[in-house]
Symmetry: C2
Subunit: 175 residues, 2 copies
């Protein structure tokens, strides 16, 4: 059965941090679905270089529906922190043990979901202090994998970030 | 002597949170200077509704130069957190006891400057958890004044925010 990946995003995502995982994970044979505040809504990157239509509303999804969750950065995570369902979906997904991947500002949503304490991760440098204040162990590496949690710092880390998602999915069982 | 106010900002500030304090504080008779990463550089709001040319580089200023510091929100504070001089200037200003006003995402810079612990303040709701994790006491009010620290949540709070800055300056002594 084709494994399903949710990319959770809204407007002002970092363009390449949505477009590159979307394209490479589809090319790798996964069923990649864009989950946003509303279904069938166009969301636009902060650089206006990439836009995409959401497949599903975060109101209609469950952590059981997907084999992995990917959270792009940019200012989309700051917006999603205000969406209670997005925070709850992230929190629920974090408890499944299935791969949860966040890049750049993506870990802001992990903080709001209470998933950072005592975990080792990386992020965009502006939010390092927020990760540490949330009880996370910050490391400055292109890719950090702590059990199910996969994190990277910035667009330049995307090749390793996406490879790690693919590797984690090839190990994980179907839900 | 005319009192001097620094507005510390860079690109992607919340337009009205720079333009309204800038205009109203000038109208009130203060010498308002825009401090950014570079002098004589145009900075543009996130809504592209307001742009302004900086007066001074943060590299060239000292906390002694101003009677008050104002930090607009939007995504400017996220960018300024990566500018060591901006963080250091904010930290130094915070130790003077002179009015330090931050609105919306502005308190992100206060977190980076280590000025939040045990202080009572408000902010844009997405960063509430970061304020609490930094040891701040968050309250959901249009205006919070804790000694020298003046904070507000959003553009709708600007009238009270600006009035509080004017009130604080009318009380404070010249440096």
């Amino acid at each position: 059965m084709t494994k399903k990946i949710a990319i959770l995003a809204t407007d002002d995502f970092e363009d390449s941090e949505l477009s590159e995982p979307y394209e490479r994970l589809r090319d790798a044979g996964f069923n990649v679905l864009i989950v946003g505040p509303a279904a069938d809504a166009e969301i636009v990157g902060k650089k206006r270089e990439f836009k995409v239509t959401t497949d599903l509303s975060v109101d209609s999804v469950s952590a059981d529906d997907f084999n992995a969750l990917v959270i792009p950065g940019g200012y989309s995570p700051d917006r999603l922190r205000l969406n209670e369902r997005a925070v709850e979906f992230t929190r629920a997904f974090g408890t499944t043990g299935k791969p949860l991947a966040a890049i750049c500002h993506g870990p802001q949503l992990l903080i709001s979901a209470g998933l950072v304490k005592s975990r080792t991760l990386t992020c965009w440098p502006s939010i390092t202090i927020d990760i540490v204040n949330a009880g996370g162990h910050y490391v400055d590496e292109p890719l950090v994998v702590d059990k199910n949690l996969i994190t990277s710092r910035k667009p330049g880390d995307l090749p390793q970030f996406i490879n790690a998602i693919i590797a984690a999915l090839s190990k994980s069982e179907n839900p």
